[in-house]
Symmetry: C3
Subunit: 350 residues, 3 copies
């Protein structure tokens, strides 16, 4: 055997010229999720939202039992796309139109596929931007999550011809009427004492900022456990030899989950994420960083579900310095220390 035939056995990932508009990528490794993932998630993040913690609370909210935490579904579905979409990515540029479509319960098996919906070669001819719309389904084929993300991917061969540029039209914000509320969900019997805070949907005002107070110093072992749990095997998260400075880049989703869990303190009743409108991993997070979070209320809307309001929040993770600061400086750039800027819809009791 030659080196070449050996190389053929391992996955080199897709390069920019491997993608074509309309192409569908069937991602590997369907995953059955269980109570085990639920417990690991609780151990990894200071998660206390009652809907994900208690079968009884979930039943009082009209669900058959407590589903898997919303971000568990996201991480698992997202992790499957990495080997095909972003193994040769230079940067993860953005998310849009992420919608949770049905709860995931212990015992469900999740598979993900992606369709290429946009391509644009960069002017340097070395890289290009790939837009994919990914959909995760359960064992019955019911969609549980869909989203668009776009990544900058290297070309294998800089001489490969540029594809025709196609840029998808993406909603800046998922319209309220497109939010999918789990069948049967009701907050009419909502137990505020069990949930941990008395603040209703009506108690939040657009423009209000909540500093979530608590901070967590992150460790190598923890972010690696988390990232493997989602079967996301991007090298930079695990191998201290690949970045050149001995650091391991923490999976951006670890920061999302940490910030969301920290936001319990002040937003304990923002029980359920239903859509992510936009998200930016503003700066890398490394082991030893202490993550803090704050939120801003961006918008509020009613929903048809009994007792259920929708709230649009900006969740910002910052590192090391919890002093309240504006999101951006006068130059329009993110304030130093900002790690994450996430715009999402959540459901709250009215």
């Amino acid at each position: 055997m030659t080196q070449d035939s050996k190389a053929a056995k391992t996955n080199p990932g897709n390069f920019f010229e491997d993608f074509a508009i309309g192409q569908v990528l069937t991602h590997a490794t369907p995953r059955t999720v269980t109570e085990g993932e639920r417990a690991m998630y609780t151990a990894l993040y200071p998660a206390r939202f009652a809907l994900w913690s208690s079968d009884e609370f979930a039943r009082a909210s009209g669900l058959p039992r407590s589903p898997m935490e919303d971000l568990v579904a996201f991480h698992i579905a997202f992790g499957k796309t990495v080997p095909d979409v972003s193994l040769n990515a230079v940067a993860n540029l953005g998310y849009a139109e992420l919608k949770w479509l049905a709860p995931v319960y212990p015992g469900d098996t999740i598979s993900t596929s992606s369709e290429v919906i946009g391509l644009k070669q960069n002017s340097n001819g070395k890289t290009g931007v790939v837009y994919v719309r990914s959909t995760a389904v359960n064992q019955s084929g019911t969609p549980v999550l869909s989203w668009v993300r776009w990544v900058m991917v290297k070309k294998r061969n800089v001489d490969a011809p540029a594809p025709e540029t196609v840029l998808p039209e993406l909603a800046k914000v998922v319209p309220v009427e497109d939010l999918v509320i789990p069948e049967g969900l009701t907050f009419e019997n909502y137990d505020f004492a069990a949930a941990g805070e008395p603040h209703r949907w009506g108690d939040y005002e657009v423009g209000e900022r909540i500093d979530h107070v608590d901070g967590v110093t992150v460790e190598e072992a923890e972010h690696m456990l988390a990232t493997r749990l989602w079967q996301n095997t991007a090298k930079v998260h695990f191998n201290a030899q690949v970045r050149g400075d001995g650091t391991r880049l923490i999976y951006g989703g670890h920061v999302i989950s940490m910030a969301r869990a920290l936001s319990f303190n002040g937003l304990a009743n923002a029980q359920m994420m239903v859509a992510i409108n936009a998200g930016s991993h503003v700066a890398p997070c490394l082991s030893g960083d202490t993550i803090y979070a704050w939120s801003e209320v961006l918008e509020k809307a009613d929903t048809p579900a009994p007792g259920v309001g929708a709230i649009r929040l900006r969740l910002v993770a910052v590192k090391d310095d919890p002093t309240p600061k504006p999101l951006r400086g006068e130059d329009g750039k993110y304030t130093p220390g900002v790690l994450l800027d996430l715009d999402f819809w959540a459901l709250m009791p009215k």
Copy 2:
């Protein structure tokens, strides 16, 4: 919005003047426990007690299946009290009258409430001692655990008037006749080979000391995983920026579980904790410390359950130096290196 209205959204915790005798605190975040928590517990502590490890061993002992480890129930129930009782605590002063009242099985949902049963303002006028009796119940409302603890809590306003001093009468030791033995428990068919040691209840003598030999060096990632698993979010355990020296204080319960697991070597048949009479976290434990444990037999008693004896043990955790030493020096103070002094009742085969 002003800073003040923002502050109102996050939980400042209760201060000394917020507590009143007879007040009942309904703690947030009911928790459904599962096989996931069981596996995490095994990964976190060198736990090998057969009753918690094997459904078959539990069935031979008259139980429907293996319950959640006794300390799992404790940690989860205890964690719920932190946001309401000890967020502004200066010190966790003691435990008494802790009794396990019914086994917790995978699938059970645990909720905790506390009643204020004692108050005493300190002479400095800045702090006071609060005594609460906490009770955890399962989804049927069946009590599974109750205990008293007292903590020194800051006053918000030093000018707030002192409450009338009320000091509860607390048993120094839970009387044997008050121990609750799980329905159906029998050690008549006890399999000593499966349990790992041949020593029966009759083989232990009051005054006997057992050095448990093994030690475990603790890591930041591990104690944080453990403490989050119990949804205990006290800042000092997670945030390296709050103590001023970059250390994170390890949750005292992590030391309890570690010492209890280490005590397997010499007390493998002390299967089930049924009461904690008293407990002191003598000194802080930090990442990098190596925890060792020794036990002293304090008392023995018979029980009405077939083949089941009760043994009262002092479990002592020490750090870094396993050389056997007395618990206290001639001055009556704990010997340096002692981390934990725990007095409890366990059940053993006769």
Copy 3:
């Protein structure tokens, strides 16, 4: 009580003179394995083999649901032997004739026993080699795993007489006809896209080498979580004070699982280990090491199961330098950096 009677309570382990040919050791701590262990395993290793990840994939392969990962069964069964076989071991010398005999499913309870099948005192009179054949059974008494290992064990008393030397005859390689294929297993409906790679059994050639590309830098917290999960409590893995240099020796099984998971990249369809022919822990692995892996195809064979071929692989773990190198130098010694040399049979789709 004297020190002596105290010492009698803790487990000193067996010394060389405590073993006799034909002796059967019933190991302690039967263990019920669940979804929790499955999730922990996924968090600990970059494991993506579809058969262990998805109930649906397992059902399409003729199994009732996804079994516990093959190495989970091994680690749990193996861990039980440590307190009786290798507590006083100087070295773990080898494995042979390891066969998986039936899948382990969540809910199964595993127990292990060992028979002493070989003894040879070393010429120095201070140590001897003990060969044991261990068998793990489930709650129905069905064998799930059996293997031989041999360890060098200290004598308690150097003056104890040497036993008659008995050396078992061990197969260098488990014959193909002795491989046990799980009842009902079929790869006739194998979904290569879900599995992650297109390479069939027929695509691999004897002599082919696959470099698995990816590396993982290991952490103290992770190997300790893993090793405790298997209830393996050998001191060197947990206590930074016992080796004299502050390091903790990583359980060899952690390296096996890490290398096997890394081998997914290039051997994604080598779904199921069915036998280990031989294994050597060539050098110690410590926290901070970055583990890489490569495989060599040693042999191929047909099996009676529909669509199922057997492939014999050498799996080699190396540390810190992924540059392809030969396994051994011209002197016949392992190349520096080699951690593990494992020879095993796996099942692949034809």
